[in-house]
C-alpha cells in the first residue's frame, strides 16, 4: 500500500511505515496462540472452558503475573534476573520460620518476606552496578547464594499449616469464585503498566535498555534506576514467595525452582525483548496467561510433566523466532509479512 509522504519529509531514505498491527503484535501474537489452543481444547476437552478450570488457570498464573511485572522492567532495562526463584524461596522460608518458630504475627511476617525480597534485589543491584558484574552472571551467582541461605535456614524441613490470612492470599476465592491471588497478580501488573507508561521509572528503563550511552548523556542516573529495577523485582519475588506458601500451605527451601525461567519465558513471549529497550506489561499479562493455559491443557490431557516442558520450550522459540522475523528489515516487518501472506490491507 502506498504511503503518502508529507511535503516536508523526504521519501528517499524513508524507512518502512509502522502499521497499527505492529504495535500490538506482541499481544496479538500470543492471543492468536491462545485462540488456537482454545480451538484445540474445544474438541479435545471441553472441561477446559469450565469456570472452575478457568479459575485454576488464573490461580496458577497469579504468581507469574507478580513476577512478570518486575521482570518486564528489568529486561526492558537490558538486565535479567535469574535469582527470583531462590529469592521467593528464601523470603518464604524466612516468613514461615518467623510464623512457626518465633510466633511472629502473620501480617508482619508477610511484610518481612517482601522486605527480604527487597534486600535480595538490593544485593543484585549492588553487585551489578557497583561491582560491575554483568547482570546474567551476577544474578545466576546470587541465585546460588539465596538458595543456599534458604537451604541452611530450613535445613530440609517442610514447614506447613499457616494462619488463615496467608492461606487466603494463596488459595482464597472472592465470592467463592475469583482467586484472591489472581486479583493481586492483575493489580500488580496494572501498577506495572502505569509505571512503565506514565512514570520516569518506566521511561528510563526503556532509555537505559535502548541506548545506555544516550541515557547517561542526558543525565539519567543509570545506577539508581538499575538499583530500583532489581529492588522492585526482588520485592515482587518476595511477594511471590508469600503467595506460593499460601497456595501450598507449605514451604520448603527447594521451592520455586522453575519460577525464574517460566517468568522470563512469559515475558519474552509477550514481546519484551532480551536486547532491552522494548517491553510491554500488557504483553507480559498475555504471555503469562498463554503459558498457564498450555500447562493446564496438558494436565487436562493427562500429558506428562515432561511434555509441559517441551511445550513451553517450543512456544518460547516460536515466539522469539516470530519476533526476530518481524525485526528483519529485509522482510519488511509486519507489513511485509502481511503482504507475503496475501492480505493487502494493512
Amino acid at each position: 500500500m502506498a504511503i503518502a509522504a508529507s511535503a516536508s519529509v523526504g521519501r528517499a531514505n524513508r524507512r518502512r511505515e509502522v502499521p497499527w498491527i505492529e504495535r500490538y503484535i506482541n499481544i496479538l501474537g500470543p492471543l492468536v496462540m491462545i485462540l488456537t489452543l482454545c480451538l484445540v481444547m474445544a474438541f479435545a476437552d471441553p472441561r477446559f472452558f469450565r469456570v472452575q478450570n478457568i479459575m485454576i488457570i488464573l490461580q496458577d498464573a497469579s504468581i507469574y503475573m507478580v513476577l512478570a511485572m518486575g521482570m518486564t522492567l528489568v529486561i526492558t532495562g537490558r538486565g535479567i534476573d535469574l535469582s527470583i526463584g531462590s529469592v521467593a524461596a528464601l523470603a518464604a522460608v524466612v516468613m514461615a520460620m518467623l510464623i512457626k518458630d518465633v510466633g511472629v504475627n502473620v501480617y508482619v511476617a508477610m511484610l518481612i518476606a517482601v522486605l527480604v525480597g527487597l534486600a535480595c534485589g538490593f544485593m543484585n543491584g549492588f553487585v551489578i552496578t557497583k561491582l560491575r558484574v554483568p547482570d546474567l552472571i551476577a544474578t545466576l551467582s546470587m541465585d546460588l547464594v539465596f538458595r543456599g541461605f534458604a537451604l541452611v535456614l530450613a535445613a530440609g524441613v517442610v514447614l506447613a499449616r499457616f494462619p488463615d490470612p496467608l492461606v487466603w492470599l494463596g488459595r482464597g476465592r472472592v465470592f467463592e469464585v475469583v482467586p484472591v491471588a489472581a486479583i493481586v497478580g492483575i493489580t500488580v501488573l496494572v501498577i506495572g503498566f502505569v509505571i512503565y507508561r506514565y512514570t520516569p521509572l518506566g521511561r528510563y528503563a526503556v532509555a537505559i535498555g535502548g541506548n545506555t550511552e544516550a541515557a547517561v548523556l542526558t543525565g539519567i542516573d543509570v545506577t539508581r534506576h538499575k538499583m530500583f529495577q532489581y529492588m522492585l523485582m526482588g520485592g515482587l519475588a518476595g511477594l511471590a514467595g508469600v503467595m506460593l506458601t499460601g497456595r501450598l500451605n507449605a514451604i520448603q527451601a527447594t521451592a520455586g525452582m522453575g519460577l525464574t525461567l517460566h517468568t522470563i519465558a512469559a515475558v519474552v513471549v509477550g514481546g519484551t525483548t532480551l536486547f532491552g529497550g522494548r517491553g510491554s506489561m500488557a504483553g507480559s499479562l498475555v504471555g503469562v496467561l498463554l503459558l498457564s493455559m498450555v500447562v493446564n491443557a496438558l494436565v487436562l490431557l493427562r500429558l506428562d510433566f515432561f511434555w509441559q516442558q517441551v511445550a513451553a520450550g517450543v512456544i518460547i522459540i516460536t515466539s522469539v523466532a516470530f519476533y526476530a522475523a518481524l525485526q528483519d528489515p529485509g522482510k519488511g516487518g509486519v507489513s511485509g509479512l502481511v503482504r507475503r501472506l496475501g492480505g493487502g490491507a494493512r
Binding site: 528517499a12 531514505n13 524513508r14 512514570t199 521511561r203 526503556v206 535502548g210 550511552e213 541515557a215 548523556l217
Partner: protein, 260 residues
Amino acid sequence: MDQPPLSVEPLLTMTGIAKHFGGVMAVQDVDLTLGRGEVVAIVGDNGAGKSTLIKVLTGVHVPDEGVITLEGRQVSITSKRASQALGIEAVYQDLGLVDTLDAAGNVFLGHELKRYILGIPFLRNARMAEEAARVLKENVGIELEDITVPTHNLSGGQRQAVAIARAIYNTDLKILVMDEPTAALGPEETRNTLKLMRRLKDQGISLIVISHNLDHVFAVADRVMVMRGGRVAATLDCKSSTKQDVLAHIIAATDGNVAA
C-alpha cells in the same frame, strides 16, 4: 597567528589546539573562531583531524594543548556534559537517540514534563507529544505524520531532526556541531537538512559542520576551514572563493597557510 576578520567579538575561539593519540598527532596548532549565527564548515581528507577537533569542543577528547573561549571567557571542557552545559551540542547520525522511544520521548529524554500526584511523578505524555511536534515544526521545520512511532522507524533525516529538536529544546543552544550530517541521506533529505541548517542560523545558532561535499558546504557555510595532516591548511570565505579554491587546498602538496 592568522585570523579571519570579524565584525564583532567571536562567540567561540579555539586557539593552539593540539591532540595526539600515542604517536599520531591528530590535531596540531589549530585555531578556529566562530561568530554568532555563523556557519563554519570544516573540510579535509580522511584522517585530516576534523572529527578530533570537534570532539575537543564537545568534550569527548581533552586537548593536550590549547585554549577555548566562549563569549570572551575561557572555558575548560572536560566532558560531554560540560560542553552541553555551555550550550554546545553535537548531532551525529546515530548518536543519542533511544530508537525504541518515539520522537517526543527522545526530545524530552532526561527532561520529561511531569505532574505530581500524591508526590509521585507522572509523565505528561500528551503534553510532551504536543510540545515535541511544535518544536519539530517551528524550529526544525519538519512534520512527522505520526509522532508516536519509535524513532527506529523514522528516516535518517527525520531522526537527525529529532536529535536537533532535542538539542534546541533542552539547552540554551549556542553552537551545534554536525559531523557529516548529510553523509547517509538521500537527495531530498539532504535538501531538507541544508534548509534546516539555514533555519538554525536564522535563529542565531552557530554551526560547525564537517562535510566532504563542497556543494553542501557552499550551500550553507559562511566560511570554510580546510584541514590537512592535523593542521589548518586554509580558511576561506565562501563568498569570495570557489569550490576549486577549496579543492586546491585540500589536495595541495604544499602546506599553504592562506587566510581570507
